[in-house]
Symmetry: C2
Subunit: 320 residues, 2 copies
DNA sequence: CCCTCCCTTGCAAACGGTTGCCAGACCAAG
DNA sequence: CTTGGTCTGGCAACCGTTTGCAAGGGAGGG
């Protein structure tokens, strides 16, 4: 139905190869011929078929971006930044959501292979082994995960966790609950590692949990019962759910329990109390990941971005 | 680099056409041959190149989904529902964000054409004319917009707006501010139409505005100054920004001003006060849109989904 | 024992482009 | 008027897969 390169060739009276060159190698065709071709293309409404082009050139000018849960407000800034950066480099980004399911994740990557020039894998749930195998078929950049020999963009979670714990310690908290995220999450492991080597604090660990509001709600009772005066949550969604759950039990934040999250998502800023959190440089990570993917010379480069503690209203002095 | 159908053919000692059939028409090949082919394919790690397949078959088993702003929490439930529904019908969904920019939107659609079997256009910012032209190249289903002869999924905004206005009137409000969304938004127009024919209410209209928290923040002063005791906002994001802006001016919601939003997004449920809102059936819309797109027999079908008023904490009796 | 018919497989042409190679046209210099 | 170089555009192969057509072989019926 749609016009092909042949139609344009016929109408403008030249060979298809000339039409092709008129578009992708203008300096190889006579300006007069070229404008004749372009005119014909224009009134036929011709658009090169990108899939066909990809077949011969091997380049699609598309990028894939895979996230575990698109409804987690942490991702949109990352996605938007990646899209903007890609657009500036003449590429488009296709986003897909895995529903936190590794099988879906693998399936999606397989589908994307050959339809994109590279894939941004954000907080993957797949094992390193599987990812390494898939990397033979399509270039990856991994965000929030360190994988041997693969370009990664990391956020300095350890530093953020340390800042958060210092902040709490400074407010007089001693017994602190650590509400973890999904099993196999690199971020979650980093947090636990920092916690493990923290001095003079009494840490209780809960999890693994779904990194969602629901996950937080579900943990509220246990956390309240454990005697901690402060909580460090895997992410803001969990933290928000926790605050909600505690409120439902009549426990006030920060008067009775302090809560810190990770990510610095929008709802955390709108919530009352406004959430104290460790801000993750999501937009910067998105841009950086695209750069890494497109320069592709950067074999196995690892970039680590700094995090920052943002103190708002959900943390206060420990009740004595 | 990656194995092709030829490699499999060579290894298993058959013609490429046989390999092809072993995958896509098993009944046409001898079971013994087939298992030999499958074995060869398996240890070569062969995966059919979907782009190449699409070239001959014209089918990609991919769907495109275009939204104006992926960071608007209204969209993720719609996206997830669409993905789940598509997955059940053996298709994948690629999401792209237009940044509310019609030019980007058009560009994205062009890119998607021929790489997908159809496109879900959610709250498009493009003119009807342009959309109709683009529809010649790829099948569309439009969400939140009515376009002649094109399958659409609508939400009954008029009904929701009427419910909201009734609710406010019942609480004694007479002067009500209508904080509109982007120009050219079908939803925004519907709201204004309902407002225009409402009896006994004194309505002041503001806008167009960006449908974001920032848009709401920016309008807070004007709304406060106009003497309205209640506000109906284009969406929850605007409403949330408004509440925030009013709070910053020392104005309490709902004690001094009542606020109603649209969409029923998660942050609205977490916010204090919890937002009264008109719930939009986003997930149902996503599922329905995919169905419409895939059955494709449903030329120009229009589906309208009901909305519901959810009364929470941001509305109260009018101050007298 | 021959003739059909069905099963299985190979052949080759498409799908819509890109690109290395080659030939003709043209121009300037010798 | 030849020679050599530069432009320009055509030819054809190729990318990976599907599919209509036809040929070979074996089995069953007459």
């Amino acid at each position: 139905m749609a016009a092909t390169i042949k139609d344009v060739a016929r109408v403008s009276g030249v060979h298809v190869s000339t039409v092709s060159r008129a578009f992708s190698a203008p300096h190889l065709v006579n300006p007069a011929t070229r404008s004749r071709v372009l005119a014909a293309a224009d009134d036929l409404g011709y658009r090169p078929n990108r899939a066909a082009r990809a077949l011969t050139t091997g380049r699609t000018f598309n990028l894939g971006l895979i996230v575990a849960d698109i409804s987690n407000p942490f991702f949109p800034p990352l996605i938007k930044a990646a899209q903007a950066q890609a657009r500036g480099r003449d590429h488009h980004v296709f986003v897909a959501d895995t529903d936190e399911d590794p099988r879906v994740e693998e399936e999606l990557i397989r589908t994307l292979t050959k339809q994109v020039d590279g894939v941004l894998l954000c907080s993957p749930r797949l094992s390193n082994k599987v990812i390494e195998r898939l990397a033979e078929d399509v270039p990856f950049v991994v965000v929030n995960r360190r994988i041997r020999g693969m370009p990664s963009v990391l956020m300095n979670v350890a530093q953020g966790a340390a800042l958060a714990l210092d902040h709490l310690a400074g407010l007089g908290h001693r017994r602190i609950a650590l509400v973890c995220g999904p099993a196999g999450s690199w971020t979650s492991n980093e947090m636990q590692a920092v916690a493990a080597r923290s001095q003079g604090l009494d840490l209780v660990s809960f999890g693994p949990n779904q990194p969602t509001e629901g996950g937080g709600l579900a943990m509220a009772a246990e956390v309240a019962a454990c005697g901690a005066t402060a909580v460090l949550a895997y992410n803001d969604l969990l933290a928000l759910g926790l605050v909600e759950g505690l409120a439902a039990m009549g426990i006030k934040v920060p008067e009775q329990i302090s809560v810190i999250g990770f990510d610095d998502i929008l709802p955390g800023r709108l919530n009352r109390p406004k959430l104290t959190t460790v801000a993750m440089p999501a937009a910067a990570a998105g841009r950086m990941a695209v750069d890494l993917l497109l320069q592709s010379g950067g074999e196995g480069a690892t970039v680590t971005l700094d995090t920052a503690l943002i103190v708002r209203e959900s943390t206060g002095r420990a009740r004595t």
